[in-house]
């Protein structure tokens, strides 16, 4: 269970297990980059990049959840996302939160 709150509604926290995090660094796909370059002429949504970043965010979240499960948690609360572009071709997707045990 994931929430952006200080707890999970309808449950009580029995144990705080600490910070968990997951991250992934993705480079842009060459084919997608060319398509995006063309798209840059007329503007609008870059669907290829949207999908790429969604996949990457999912992976970062999964890693965070994996870490939480290893600690014996059944929920992660106060989840935050952040994206930073490292170099011109790559972006880091980062997810973090607090692993807790709820009842």
């Amino acid at each position: 269970m994931l929430t952006t709150l200080e707890g999970v509604p309808g449950h009580t926290i029995t144990d705080h297990l600490g910070l968990v995090q997951g991250s992934t660094v993705r480079a842009k796909h060459l084919g997608r980059d060319i398509a995006a370059g063309l798209k840059n002429l007329v503007g609008g949504e870059l669907k290829g990049y949207t999908e790429l970043l969604q996949e990457a965010r999912q992976e970062a979240t999964d890693r965070m959840v994996q870490q939480a499960i290893q600690m014996g948690a059944n929920a992660v609360i106060n989840v935050r996302y952040s994206t930073s572009s490292l170099t011109a071709g790559a972006a880091e997707l980062f997810a973090y939160g607090t692993a807790v045990k709820v009842q």
Binding site: L5, P9, A36, L41, G43, G44, Y81, T83
Partner: protein
């Protein structure tokens, strides 16, 4: 001379196609916003007592949106003089509204009645731009309740 013609064509294509796409996007945003009107949104929640709810789930919406050739060029000129870059204001508005809408749509398909503690984040992708690409990613995320 040739390069001037190519430049004029690029600007023209960027302006007309970009503008028509922007208007189409705004029309679709308005329509979908009125369709998802029943979902209450708030960015409070963290410092409040936990709400009563049958279920809670995290929902995310994201979009990568790019500028067109005309906008990029105009912004370059405008930034010499300072002031508002109206061409980019509308771009970011589109991105943000789209991201919020996608979050709402995800929440609605799960059966949510409201979303609380929403956070919005904007990330500049490749500011140094391989091929001068001006694009931003906007994400909206929060906790959906039912």
């Amino acid at each position: 001379m040739d390069s001037l013609i190519i430049f004029a064509v690029l600007i023209g294509v960027g302006y007309f196609v970009g503008k028509s796409q922007e208007q189409k996007h705004f029309a679709s945003l308005r329509l979908r916003e009125s369709q998802t009107h029943q979902l209450a949104l708030t960015n409070m929640g963290r410092l409040q007592p936990l709400p009563d709810a049958a279920g809670a789930q995290m929902v995310v919406g994201s979009v990568v949106i790019a500028s067109d050739y005309f906008k990029t060029f105009t912004a370059g000129i405008l930034s010499l003089f300072g002031g508002r870059l109206t061409v980019y204001e509308s771009l970011l508005e589109r991105g943000r509204r789209e991201a919020i809408l996608r979050m709402k749509e995800e929440a609605l398909s799960w059966g949510a009645t409201r979303i609380i503690n929403i956070r919005l984040e904007t990330a500049d992708l490749a500011s140094q731009g391989s091929n001068g690409l001006v694009s931003v990613e906007v994400i909206a995320y929060g906790t959906a309740l039912k």
